[in-house]
Symmetry: C2
Subunit: 338 residues, 2 copies
């Protein structure tokens, strides 16, 4: 079955998104439905020489802009590319949605069209590079104000995702906090610590900021406000460090010469910290597969996001989540007490 790609979402326009779909079709034979203005998309496909590839078009006449209110978009733009993409999944015509557009609107549309699994709070999980294997950080932006039991839901979903996508048998889960001891943290995290300790998760305890990139834990849980700040801070810092290093190096002749010689390793390093290698973040807890991509996604990031969606659909992620997020679980039900 095809993956529905919101062909009008993202900071760089339709062209780079369509290039990503073409690359995914060529490299892995992944089938895509491009959702957006039919004529514009057809013209791009023509110039990209995409005839014969498993790529189709679904017309959508409206676009949700990046700064637009999700609630308003949902109410007023029934024919937006985001909305139509989700309608395809709901109708059983597509198996997943990939969008680099307005992430609030993507989240809201997912909740309304596909619904939630056992009424959990959907959360965005992202893989980040570390000194060892990648770590899953969850939530990085879907929920800005959370209760402790929501963090537990994120932990369970993150662990399932880690098992599925990184093939880690019994993922080690940690809570992002400001000290290793359980009594350290804010009220929310201290209460969550007790819930995690009582759960069936392989819970390692608190993880401090400085240990995030060490790779000694597989899933790190935090609320979406903190997670989003941490994610963007990491991106910004990595870019700034490389930029500062470049300024220093290009300021001396020996430095420039040294850089020329070390170009290969520099490129290998850049590849390791390049978010586009990771291709987007799944929105977990929705009754369907949704990948939210970076607004600044280029063709490679889109290609990898389509691959991730394809893989999660093959692995039946949604049913795994449905089974393990047991609605009878007392811990998850502890809504009012936490």
């Amino acid at each position: 079955m095809a993956i529905a790609l919101d062909a009008k979402g993202g900071d760089f326009g339709a062209r780079v998104l369509i290039e990503g779909a073409v690359a995914a079709a060529r490299q892995w034979g992944i089938e895509t439905v491009l959702v957006g203005p039919e004529k514009e998309i057809a013209a791009h496909l023509d110039t990209l020489g995409a005839r014969g590839l498993p790529i189709s078009i679904q017309n959508a006449t409206q676009v949700v802009e990046m700064g637009e209110s999700p609630a308003e978009a949902l109410r007023k733009k029934k024919d937006s590319s985001i909305r139509i993409a989700f309608d395809l999944v709901r109708a059983g015509t597509a198996e997943a949605v990939v969008s680099a557009g307005n992430s609030g609107a993507t989240l809201a549309t997912a909740m309304v069209t596909l619904g939630r699994l056992h009424s959990v709070r959907p959360a965005i999980a992202i893989m980040m590079p570390t000194l060892k294997r990648p770590v899953v950080l969850i939530d990085v932006g879907a929920n800005v104000d959370c209760k402790p039991h929501h963090l537990l839901q994120f932990g369970i979903m993150g662990a399932i995702f880690s098992r599925q996508i990184l093939s880690i048998h019994n993922p080690r889960v940690g809570l992002l906090s400001i000290g290793e001891e359980g009594y350290k943290g804010n009220v929310q995290v201290k209460k969550a610590y007790d819930l995690f300790s009582a759960s069936r998760l392989n819970f390692l305890g608190n993880v401090e900021g400085r240990d995030v990139f060490k790779g000694d834990v597989d899933v790190i849980v935090c609320d979406g406000f903190i997670g989003n700040i941490c994610l963007k801070l990491s991106e910004g810092l990595a870019e700034s460090i490389l930029s500062m290093l470049k300024t220093e190096i290009s300021g001396s002749i020996l430095g420039r010469l040294g850089y020329l010689l070390a170009q290969g390793p520099f490129r290998a390093f850049r590849k390791k910290v390049d978010y586009s290698e990771y291709g987007g973040a799944p929105l977990l807890g929705i009754n369907g597969i949704v990948i939210i991509s970076h607004g600044r996604s280029g063709p490679k990031a889109v290609k990898n996001a389509l691959y991730a969606a394809h893989r999660l659909a093959r692995q039946d992620l949604v049913n795994c989540l449905k089974t393990e997020l047991d609605p009878g679980d007392a811990l998850l039900q502890a809504v009012e007490t936490t």
Copy 2:
């Protein structure tokens, strides 16, 4: 007047702290009282050839360990090096405290012995390197659960500190959040946004994680839980990036050769991101000057922390804060409504 240095706080023992005091005395003539076990300190001073330097010793027989409960330490260890250091300031014998020890105990002891300014919440401000001039991040750990008006207090204190230490006339202040628009963020930050907008601060609005290191804002405000995570995440990521880069470079002969040539720029870059250059973080909102240093401080970091304390005392930071944190300010009084 002398600065009281807790000679038993920190991860590396008394020796490195005393070396820092000796270096500060030699370089700038800064006067220090080393607080801790008299004999041990005297022996170190002897082997460091510190006679004739403006360094004295104040005996303290107890030590607050790094993992110890601040409340308990405060109750049971009246003769700890931290406590005696603060008693010296209270008695007017020393003009500031520098401690690399248990920061919770330092905070608690400061509040009990010196008291707060107009009952504000004391907060830790730290300077972080950016692509342009350093930015002040406040709070990085004193308050894990904050109300919106506490964030405003941090903003006011951070702006005064920025003006004093970085000589910035009208510091630009931002709130750490997940989108530039005022309606983005969690409940706490959205309410704080309105308080900041109504204040006399040069408020730029929200700052996203990715903009922290760009240097386009002078003071970034957040609660101590998020600030501490961001600070440690940044330290950990910077170390990880350098370590990954080193692994790549040392994996190839050309890479190693290139590194040899580019060593100078590499060192200059390391100096830029080295926290020990910044020498510790002031605890603002206390009726006295307190510098909290990194537990892993070496002699250079201690030396720079003593310099920072010395400078803040010369600039009469406490009186500036006292004047500007006007107890009659309606915004700061809005305790119950936010």
